[in-house]
C-alpha cells in the first residue's frame, strides 16, 4: 500500500486534475437532479452548496487561524510556566 501511495504522490499533478474534474462533475450533477421538497430558499439554487462551502471553508480558516494568531495561541507550556513563576 505504501508503494501505491508513493506512486500517487509522485503523480500529484494528475490527481489534481482528476480532483478538478470531480468538482466540475458535482456541479453538472447538481444541474441534472430533481429538487422535490426544498427546505429553504438555498435548496432551489443550483450550486448553492458549492458556493456556501467554498466561502464558508475559506471564511472559517481565515477567521479561526486569525483569531488563533492574534489571541488564542500560546506556547505549549503556558500554564506550567506561569505556575513555576509563582513558586519562585
Amino acid at each position: 500500500m505504501a508503494k501505491v501511495l508513493g506512486y500517487l504522490q509522485a503523480h500529484a499533478n494528475v490527481l489534481k486534475w482528476i480532483f478538478f474534474a470531480f468538482l466540475l462533475g458535482t456541479l453538472v450533477f447538481d444541474f441534472m437532479i430533481e429538487r422535490h421538497h426544498a427546505h429553504f430558499w438555498g435548496d432551489s439554487i443550483i450550486g448553492f452548496w458549492s458556493l456556501f462551502t467554498l466561502f464558508g471553508c475559506l471564511g472559517m480558516i481565515v477567521f479561526c487561524k486569525g483569531l488563533s494568531h492574534v489571541w488564542l495561541a500560546q506556547p505549549e507550556d503556558f500554564y506550567d510556566r506561569e505556575d513555576s513563576d509563582n513558586v519562585e
Partner: protein, 589 residues
C-alpha cells in the same frame, strides 16, 4: 432471586469482571479471556432484558436499576459493542488497574443508561467520573496527573449541581422517577439537573474539561473515554429534555465552536477531542429540536459517532503508541511505515465527514434534515457549515499532516495485531452502517421513514466535500500546524486557581505565621501558666486528688498546643477548599 436480578444487569458483568481481573494478574491469558468474554457476554445479554427489573427499596426511596425501551436499547447496543472494541484495542496493556478502570467506567455508563430514577443515575454517574480519571492518570506523566485532577474537580462540581437539582426536585414533587420533563413546566430543579447533564455532554461554556483531559489520557483510555461520558450524557438529555429550545441553540453553537478549535489545534488527539464537542453538538441540537425525526437523528448520530470517533482515536493512538508523538508539527510522511493505521484513520475520517456509503452520511444528515423540516434555517446552515469544518479538520488536515505533508523523518512501525483488529471492526461498522442503514434505523426509538440516499442529498454532500477539499488545497500553507496550544475557557479556572494559590501562599500564609507567632508568645505561656497553676493546686493544695493528675494536665496542655498549631493549618486548608468550591461555582454558574 436477588442474584438473578443482579445477573440480569449488564453493568454487573463489568463490575464482577473488574473484581476478577486482579486475581489473574499473573495469568495473562486468563486476564485476556476475561477482557474479551465480559463485553461479549454483555453484548449478547442486552437482547434479553425485560422491560423493567431490579426495583428495590432503599431508605424509603424506590430505586430502579433496569428500565428498558427502544431508546435505552440503541445506546446499550453501541456501548457494549464499543466496550468490546475497546477491550480488544487494549489487550496488550499490562497494567491490570487500567483494565479495571475501563471496566468500571463502562459499568457506570451502562448503569446510567439503564437507571429509571435519579438516585441510581447519580450513583453510576459518579462511578463513571471516578473510574475514568484513572484512565488519564495511568499515562503517568505530570501533565496527565494534573489534567486528571482538573477533570475530577470539574466532574465533582457537575455531580454536585446534578445532586442539588435532584434534591430540589424531590422537595418539589416527591418523585425521583427519571422521565421526560416538559419544557413549559421546567423549574430551577430541572434546569440544575440539565446543567449537570450538559457538563458531561461538554456544552460550552462548560466543555473545557474535555479537550483538557482527553489528550492527556492513555492511548487506550482515550478510546474508551471518547465513547462513553459524552454519549451517556446525550442519552440522559434525550430521555429527559427533548424539545428544550436552549439545547437546540447551544447544540448548533457547539458544532461550530468545536470545529473551529479543531481547525487551529496542533495536537492530533486535542483536534479529535474538540471535534467530539462539535459532533455532540449535532446530537444536543437534535434533542433540542425534539421532533421524532430529530431525536432519531441524535440517537443514530450517537451510534455512528461512537464508532468512527473511536476509530479515529485508535488510529491516532496507534501513531502515538508507536512513535511517541501526537503533535502534527512533529509528524509527517508516515505513510511509508504505517499505511494500515492510515487506511483505518481515513475510513474514520470520511465516515465522520459524511461521505456517501459511510455511517456519517446516514446519521448526520438526519439531524440536518430534521432542522430543515422544522424550518430552522439558521440552525441548519450552522450545522452544514460545521460539516464543512469537520471534513476540513478531521477528514483532510489530520491525516494529511500525520501521514503526508513534509517528511518529518519520524519512523513508526505498524501497531500490534489487536489494535489493528479493533480498528478493523470499527471501520467495518462505519461502512456497514453506510451501506445498510436499516440495521441502525430499526433500532431507533421512533418509527423512521427517512431515506438518506436521495439524489439531492448526494449532490449536496458531494459539493460540500469537494469544495472543502478545494478550500484546503488553496489554504494548505496557511493551515500549517504551529507548536502552540490555544486558550479556552479552562483559562478561568486554571488561572483562577493560580491566583487562589498565590493568596494561599502569600496573605493567608502570612496570617497563618502571625497567628502562630501570637500563639507561641501568648498562648503557650498562657497554657503553661494554667498548667503550672493547676499543678501547684494539685500538688500543694489538695491531697484528695487522684495521683498523677497534675502530670495529666501538663500533658493535656502539651496536647492542646500540638492540636492547636496543627489545627490552624487545617483551618486554612479547609477555608482554601471551601473558597475553591465557591470560585468554581461562580465560574460555572
Amino acid at each position: 432471586m436477588l442474584s438473578n436480578t443482579i445477573l440480569l444487569h449488564p453493568a454487573s458483568y463489568f463490575i464482577i469482571g473488574a473484581f476478577l481481573l486482579p486475581l489473574f494478574s499473573r495469568v495473562r491469558i486468563a486476564q485476556k479471556v476475561i477482557l474479551l468474554a465480559v463485553p461479549l457476554l454483555a453484548f449478547w445479554q442486552i437482547h434479553y432484558l425485560p422491560e423493567s427489573f431490579g426495583i428495590c427499596h432503599f431508605m424509603g426511596f424506590e430505586l430502579t436499576f433496569g428500565r428498558v425501551d427502544k431508546l435505552t436499547y440503541v445506546f446499550l447496543h453501541v456501548f457494549t459493542l464499543m466496550a468490546l472494541i475497546g477491550a480488544i484495542y487494549c489487550l496488550h496493556v499490562k497494567e491490570t488497574g487500567h483494565h479495571i478502570a475501563a471496566f468500571l467506567y463502562v459499568a457506570g455508563s451502562l448503569g446510567t443508561t439503564l437507571a429509571g430514577d435519579y438516585l441510581t443515575i447519580f450513583i453510576f454517574w459518579e462511578l463513571m467520573a471516578f473510574a475514568s480519571v484513572f484512565l488519564i492518570w495511568y499515562r503517568k506523566k505530570k501533565r496527565s496527573i494534573e489534567a486528571g485532577y482538573r477533570y475530577l474537580l470539574v466532574h465533582t462540581v457537575g455531580g454536585l449541581i446534578l445532586l442539588a437539582g435532584i434534591f430540589l426536585r424531590y422537595k418539589n414533587c416527591h418523585d425521583l422517577t427519571f422521565t421526560r420533563i416538559l419544557a413549559e413546566g421546567a423549574t430551577t430543579a430541572d434546569y440544575l439537573i440539565m446543567i449537570g447533564f450538559m457538563l458531561n455532554a461538554a456544552v460550552p461554556p462548560i466543555h473545557a474539561w474535555l479537550p483538557d483531559a482527553y489528550p492527556e489520557a492513555t492511548v487506550a483510555g482515550a478510546v474508551f473515554m471518547c465513547a462513553f461520558t459524552t454519549k451517556t450524557a446525550v442519552y440522559v438529555l434525550a430521555r429527559g429534555f427533548p424539545g428544550f429550545e436552549m439545547l437546540a441553540i447551544l447544540g448548533a453553537i457547539m458544532t461550530l465552536y468545536g470545529v473551529g478549535y479543531a481547525v487551529i489545534e496542533n495536537d492530533a488527539r486535542r483536534i479529535l477531542a474538540y471535534h467530539i464537542v462539535s459532533q455532540v453538538g449535532y446530537m444536543v441540537c437534535g434533542i433540542g429540536i425534539g421532533t421524532a425525526m430529530a431525536v432519531n437523528g441524535a440517537c443514530a448520530h450517537a451510534y455512528a459517532h461512537i464508532l468512527y470517533k473511536a476509530l479515529l482515536f485508535m488510529g491516532v493512538g496507534a501513531v502515538l503508541e508507536m512513535t511517541g508523538k501526537s503533535k502534527l508539527n512533529e509528524l509527517g510522511g508516515l505513510y511509508k511505515t504505517m499505511p494500515v493505521a492510515l487506511f483505518f484513520t481515513v475510513i474514520g475520517g470520511i465516515a465522520i465527514s459524511g461521505f456517501p456509503l459511510t455511517s456519517g452520511f446516514i446519521s448526520k444528515s438526519m439531524i440536518i434534515a430534521a432542522a430543515g423540516v422544522d424550518h430552522r434555517v439558521i440552525i441548519m446552515l450552522m450545522l452544514s457549515l460545521a460539516a464543512v469544518g469537520t471534513f476540513l479538520s478531521v477528514g483532510i488536515k489530520l491525516p494529511y499532516f500525520i501521514w503526508f505533508g513534509k517528511d518529518s523523518g519520524v519512523k513508526g512501525k505498524e501497531a500490534p495485531w489487536n489494535m489493528n483488529l479493533a480498528m478493523a471492526i470499527a471501520a467495518f461498522m462505519c461502512i456497514f452502517l453506510g451501506v445498510y442503514p436499516e440495521y441502525l434505523y430499526k433500532m431507533l426509538p421512533f418509527a423512521c421513514d427517512y431515506h438518506p440516499y436521495s439524489a439531492y442529498h448526494i449532490s449536496e454532500t458531494l459539493q460540500i466535500l469537494g469544495f472543502t477539499g478545494l478550500g484546503f488545497y488553496l489554504m494548505v500553507n496557511y493551515l500549517h500546524p504551529d507548536p502552540k496550544s490555544n486558550l479556552d475557557v479552562d483559562w478561568f479556572y486554571r488561572k483562577g486557581a493560580l491566583v487562589f494559590m498565590w493568596c494561599a501562599r502569600k496573605p493567608i500564609s502570612i496570617a497563618n505565621d502571625w497567628v502562630g507567632e501570637v500563639y507561641r508568645t501568648v498562648g503557650m505561656r498562657f497554657t503553661m501558666l494554667v498548667a503550672k497553676a493547676l499543678s501547684w493546686f494539685d500538688w500543694e493544695g489538695i491531697d484528695w486528688a487522684v495521683d498523677g493528675s497534675a502530670k495529666g494536665v501538663v500533658k493535656g496542655g502539651d496536647q492542646i498546643r500540638a492540636l492547636q498549631t496543627g489545627k490552624i493549618q487545617q483551618y486554612v486548608g479547609g477555608a482554601v477548599a471551601a473558597l475553591m468550591i465557591v470560585l468554581l461555582v461562580i465560574v460555572f454558574l
